[in-house]
Symmetry: C2
Subunit: 313 residues, 2 copies
């Protein structure tokens, strides 16, 4: 469905539960908050299913909309969720009855009954903006989470997924809200623990693929040593993408003993999505991820094999 | 003059020399390049006066427009230059005959015969966009330096000077150009040496003033050990301004044995200029500096005394 069709479909729904993805980022949380507020503004009942992995960074945007424990939804909608495997544990009970998914991941598996996917959108928030404006006037309470969605998924308008459309929507949103405090908090503040994590990751980074790829690691032991929270390590994979003279940044994060989350950020030479797809993951051409079983060293060997295969082809 | 008046005025000029400011940044260079190209597109002769302090970062945007040594301009225009004191040495000969200044600094001294100043613009590039579009169609060769001007002066749309207008202009420019490579180079690249410097500065940072001030140090030995160039350490004082729960970031850089450059970045509680003035330096309330004699430890003791006095008052 395109965005006008999606808006028309949403107009027919009431008692709507909104789902966000595991390790929730600004895009999934911002989209859910904006849509929930928009549905309420048009007189409908709507909640966001509590996401147990919500971080302090994004909790304030979602908290006003968390569903009460006894909410029995008539309709279930997923935002920014590419596949059922990305549903949090408590959302899996709804996996078979998701009527609508609004997403911008090209890898979207089409699991929902209706899907509104536009991979040209820098953030799912761009699609939500276009959908919501058909439903109801955009208020500051809708604009702020939409801005968070769009700004976070584009690295504050710096990643290559930023388009003319991204800026045009931001221009509309900034007519309604002051984003100085949000920008300072999201993009110009780092916790001491996060700075320490980055410092250690840089000190231990290694290079491969003829110096064109950099590998950074977040062992569980480092996280424990520094007492890092989820907020301290979120989006840490962007650090590897900064290193001069490289065009592939790989971050290996030990989620628990024997499980490693791999993140790949890449320039045009490397298809990050292909690399991660070979490991059972997915994402975008320039930013993708996969979660694999094994030690950090085994995960590193696996991703480097996948990288070699993807760049050979 | 407003921007339509400025465009009308520019239409009457030919043989135009454009001036940029000392320590040229992306805004002054981008504005000059865009205006020079626009004037040429309308059949006029125009050049930019060579800026001896141009850095490798911005040189490519200005180089096609440098004036030949024998260029005798009929008209002289300044872009993003708030006062005659900010003219490079080789531009001072034109100080008395600047017919037009296009700028966004509220402190503009009104030194030019005609001044187009709009302090609500995040970058002078926003004004140049509005002026140039009246003169001639915006081409990619004009759009790229305008984007550089606007993106650099707003920290890539993150500083509080970013407005709806900023985003709307960026949206128009992105219809014409791909800025992925520019964004990557300007905002998403750090040299390995710079990353290593930051890593070490963070590892050794200390806190004082009840945890509200952070102190970072760049000993000469660290610079030598890492083989850091000037480019590797420029703007490193911004690192201390990122630390969560602090509102005063102090960076101590040993310039040579016995000489230390102190940089202070602060929030509203601390007047950085007062702190540095007590040490013989100066600057703005939120960002100031001083150069003192002594060891790193002596400089640190001196700045902490000055900080205590400034915050007691």
């Amino acid at each position: 469905m395109n965005t006008p069709q999606t808006a028309a479909f949403l107009k027919k729904l009431d008692n709507v539960l909104l789902l966000t993805h595991v390790r929730p980022d600004g895009d999934t949380v911002g989209c859910a908050a904006a849509l929930c507020q928009a549905l309420r503004d048009t007189g409908r009942t709507s909640f966001i299913l509590h996401n147990p992995e919500i971080t302090a960074t994004y909790e304030p945007y979602a908290a006003p909309y968390w569903a009460p424990a006894d909410f029995a939804p008539t309709h279930v909608v997923a935002v920014d969720i590419a596949a059922p495997g990305l549903l949090p544990e408590n959302a899996k009970q709804y996996a078979g009855r998701i009527e609508l998914c609004i997403d911008h991941h090209p890898s979207n598996s089409g699991y929902a009954r209706h899907t509104c996917v536009d991979a040209s959108a820098g953030a799912a928030g761009e699609l939500l903006y276009e959908i919501i404006r058909v439903l109801t006037p955009i208020t500051p309470a809708i604009a702020l989470p939409l801005y968070v969605a769009i700004a976070t998924d584009t690295g504050c308008f710096v990643y290559s997924n930023t388009t003319s459309r991204t800026h045009r929507i931001a221009a509309e949103l900034l007519e309604l809200i002051d984003v100085s405090a949000v920008n300072k908090a999201l993009f110009r503040t780092k916790s001491r623990t996060r700075l320490a994590m980055e410092s250690r990751m840089v000190a231990d980074m290694t290079f491969c693929d003829g110096g064109r790829a950099v590998v950074m690691r977040i062992p569980l032991s480092l996280r424990q040593e520094l007492g890092a929270t989820e907020a301290d390590i979120e989006e840490l994979s962007s650090l590897a993408a900064l290193v001069e003279d490289t065009d592939c940044g790989i971050t290996l994060r030990e989620l628990e003993p024997g499980t490693v989350k791999i993140s790949v950020r890449s320039g045009p030479r490397v298809d990050a999505c292909a690399v991660c797809a070979a490991l059972g993951g997915g994402g975008h051409r320039a930013a993708a991820g996969a979660t694999v079983r094994g030690t950090l060293a085994e995960a590193e060997a696996a991703v480097l094999r996948a990288l070699a295969e993807a760049t050979e082809a």
